[in-house]
Subunit: 311 residues, 2 copies
């Protein structure tokens, strides 16, 4: 029950994205689940985020420098001969749906994370949305993680269901989209879906619902975090990973997971995600300050607070 900031290791993708949407084309921007996660988490535990991923020799050094400027440990960011993972997508005019136009795995295809001895001591672990076999591989290298969380997606749910279940059996907290939760459980009702998922292993399940907010199901009950009502959303890319980064970063900062800290962590995740979508790629996160975060945390409190007075 320590209160010092804990080390937080994330394994996932670092990518170059080509985005197309109602506000124009944004080619060749920084993307990837681990990029968003690590950057969001770095606000809470600036010297304790460890990024494990792979990029090709086409990956701009400026992006690596940005991670370093955020205090992120990039010793686990391998650079290999070949192309960086590249995702290309197009958003609908109202930004509510997107189509993947192209996915080029590049060096990610042969990625086999090898954790350094230092990284094997990570206390908080986030397994980003990658092949569940790789997630398990990383999980087995970390000695005694105090909290293991993971994300996944439809591609692995339908493509590697058994491998995914083996990973889930060892995960404390699953952070997943609503549609993917339904797919994983095979039922539409979210409460029923979570009940089924929790039987696979995770004690806690966070269901991300886009602009409907996020729900946490855990031993302490259910907690609902709203999405912040924004007047303008520019780019939803990475919002879910940013949410997870804020959530896990805040938990690592607290150093302990309690009913009280995980509720605030849900809100801090929502705060970070609400800023993320205000601009393209990680641009808004690049100018974000702790004062901005504190100010929107207060706004979330105002957004949800009511007094409990008996009838």
């Amino acid at each position: 029950m320590t209160k010092r900031p804990s080390s937080l290791l994330v394994v996932g993708s670092v990518a170059l994205d080509d985005l197309d949407g109602p506000q124009g084309i944004h080619p060749d921007v920084l993307g990837g689940s681990a990029s968003y996660f690590a950057t969001a988490a770095s606000f809470f535990v600036p010297a304790s985020v460890q990024l494990v991923a792979v990029v090709g020799n086409d990956f701009p050094q400026a992006h690596v420098d940005f991670f370093v400027s955020r205090g992120i440990d990039v010793a686990g960011l391998e650079r290999q001969e070949g192309k960086t993972f590249r995702w290309s997508g197009r958003y609908s005019d109202d930004l509510t749906s997107r189509t993947s136009l192209d996915t080029q795995l590049g060096v990610f295809a042969g990625f086999r994370p090898r954790l350094s001895d230092h990284h094997r001591s990570a206390e908080f672990l986030f397994l980003g949305n990658i092949d569940p076999v790789l997630q398990m591989d990383v999980l087995e290298q970390v000695r005694r993680p105090r909290l293991v969380a993971c994300d996944t997606m439809n591609f692995w749910i339908s493509g590697k269901p058994e491998e995914l279940k083996r990973t889930l059996a060892r995960v404390d907290l699953l952070v997943i989209n609503d549609e993917e939760a339904r797919q994983l459980a095979g039922v539409h009702n979210l409460v029923q879906a979570v009940e089924i998922i929790r039987k696979l292993g995770p004690r806690g399940v966070v269901v991300k619902r886009g602009d409907s907010g996020a729900l946490l199901f855990y031993e302490g009950g259910v907690f609902a975090a709203p999405a912040y009502p924004l007047e303008q959303v520019r780019d939803p890319t990475g919002a879910g990973d940013t949410f997870a980064g804020g959530l896990m970063g805040y938990l690592a900062r607290c150093g302990e997971v309690t009913p009280a800290t995980i509720r605030r962590a849900m809100i801090y995740g929502s705060v970070l995600a609400s800023y993320c979508v205000e601009d393209f790629s990680l641009d808004r996160l690049k100018t974000l300050t702790l004062e901005d975060i504190a100010s929107r945390f207060r706004a979330f409190y105002e957004l949800t607070h009511f007094e409990h007075i008996a009838l």
Copy 2:
């Protein structure tokens, strides 16, 4: 700034519904916006809800007796020669969408509400989802309402836009679905849509979002009420009207609209709606108790509560 319960008049439809959904066919059940609204409101101001509507001579007396048993004043419930308004709808398997199969206006087609002298003194007024010309007609008969709220739907937004705008210009609070808010304003973003709608008249706008909860935009800022995560939803019919009834009923009970009472009213509306969908028609509301309401209000508090602690 009184605290006594205020009178609450609702004008809207009292109907017979034929419901078809994944849980079977439920023909000939009590429905209509004013039925749900008045019943929900009656929990908060049992002797002060005034129902203004019309039914045909086929309308079962048992339903009228039920309203009376709830303490609802049915002096304004006209009975005319002809058929009661009848709506027939089919829900999709996941209950997320519905198709209107048939709508028979019956006696509702010639409905011209004439308020009694007593009803013209109503303090809180809810104009249910009916022709905006009728809404205005009722509004002009009420002498000095302290709060006027209304609902509307796509049919009137596209069919009688100018008449609707004349009604909205005299309304304090608009309670509307998200899709209808977008349609009324002509923009997708809800924050922008509400800004446009508020320029039409309403100081406050409540956006109902189904299982994503409801948002209140008012002078005091924005308030987000989640939907209660339910393990089983049987029938979403009337959830929005029940929400509005709980909201307005609680405000009438408090006798005043303040930033604090309207936030709790949003939650009481959500409490009532969460019970409503647990069974068909008004069945769940028929067995509901004040203890049930208090218990789920507490559950909503647990669902949303977090401490505001600085980073």
